[in-house]
């Protein structure tokens, strides 16, 4: 987690044994609050979520939120940090590179059609597994607010730049469809995420978008739509 808000902690040089138990319990409370906050914020939005509901889901009491985090706002930021960390994990775990050898850690090799295809497939799987992220993003990106400014600053900008840069390179090389990078960015994210963001609606329409068959044919479709026909990696 990259947030600054922390529960007050003892200096780490000499923790007494009974204080270690205390600390372990505190960490558990903190983690439970973070997970509960994710679920609640993604489902009901920031305003629609009460700190009492979060505490109840976490199995603790409402004032713990103000103790472990400074405020409801700070808890939200910590939860979003945690969520982006989980996205990165999920992307890594779903990366299936298609060449004979895959990229190693700290890979800085230039983007290729194949690596971009693998990224899209991993993204679809990650988004299906982690709908909370895109839910929170779309809940917040819809209006100007201090939370939107924070999230763009801390998470969105770097990812936007990376993706549009890679797309521009591939486009110049004729390796993907001839689509403007910003158009491609929002079309890709939107096309990849809505089925999972709106999963409750889809279920009411008779569609279970969490099935593996849906997810994989979704990924196949995006590859043919964005990269073109020849090799739906």
């Amino acid at each position: 987690m990259s947030t600054a808000e922390r529960a007050p902690t003892r200096p780490s040089h000499q923790p007494a044994p009974h204080l270690r138990r205390r600390q372990a319990r505190a960490d558990a409370t903190r983690t439970a609050l973070l997970d509960a906050a994710l679920t609640e914020f993604a489902a009901n939005g920031f305003e629609g979520t009460s700190t009492r509901a979060i505490a109840e889901r976490a199995g603790t009491h409402q004032p713990q939120i103000n103790y472990h985090f400074d405020s409801k706002d700070a808890l939200w930021r910590a939860a979003v940090d945690h969520l982006f960390d989980r996205l990165d994990e999920a992307m890594r775990s779903h990366q299936t590179t298609d060449g004979p050898e895959g990229p190693g850690p700290d890979d800085v090799t230039p983007v290729t059609r194949e690596s971009f295809a693998a990224m899209i497939r991993a993204f679809v799987r990650a988004v299906a597994e982690l709908p909370e992220l895109n839910r929170i993003m779309v809940l917040e990106a819809t209006m100007d607010s201090s939370r939107l400014a924070w999230i763009v600053d801390h998470h969105t900008t770097a990812r936007y730049r990376l993706l549009t840069t890679q797309w521009s390179e591939l486009r110049a090389a004729g390796a993907v469809r001839d689509i403007d990078p910003a158009v491609a960015y929002y079309s890709l994210i939107g096309a990849a995420s809505l089925a999972y963001v709106n999963a409750p609606e889809a279920r009411l329409l008779g569609q279970d978008t969490s099935e593996a068959s849906f997810i994989e044919s979704h990924a196949d479709a995006l590859l043919s739509m964005f990269l073109g026909e020849e090799d739906a990696a």
Copy 2:
């Protein structure tokens, strides 16, 4: 509007002149409340919107909401009805059929690749013009609630069935890409709407998605992505 909630109205057979003025004022208040509600609900979500904020934006007082509508919930439903009416209007006004002659009113001719292309283009333009609709949809479709059940029942189901049926016909005829209808539905809606739903975020990223050049190249991109290359109508 197709909602049932109405302000109490006089019998229409014999309106006295001074009561007509009264009624005109009331209608103005009702309409102002409806427009203000749309803006506020789309920006802040149902829970995040206070009836005071709506009344203030409408230039009237908070209790008027409970007078003209039964509740905050009923106002929300009336606003959504109004919004779908506006979507239909916007779709009609942006329909530019590409053949020598366009379809007339009450057209029931079978769907063609060309009519579907014209629909997609009109949809992109309409969604760009009316981001409130997709904002509200995504704000609500994210979790189960009585509002989601209502919106699916009253608006989404019919549109979902029409679009997926048309897609299936075109797909069987080989006129569009070979993509599952449900996958195509969510990919299309998501790809078409996110740039406008997330317009505030896009602006922070340096992208103005409301420019005509963005919208048209967005529509062009979707046509090539979903229909294939040969004729980006």
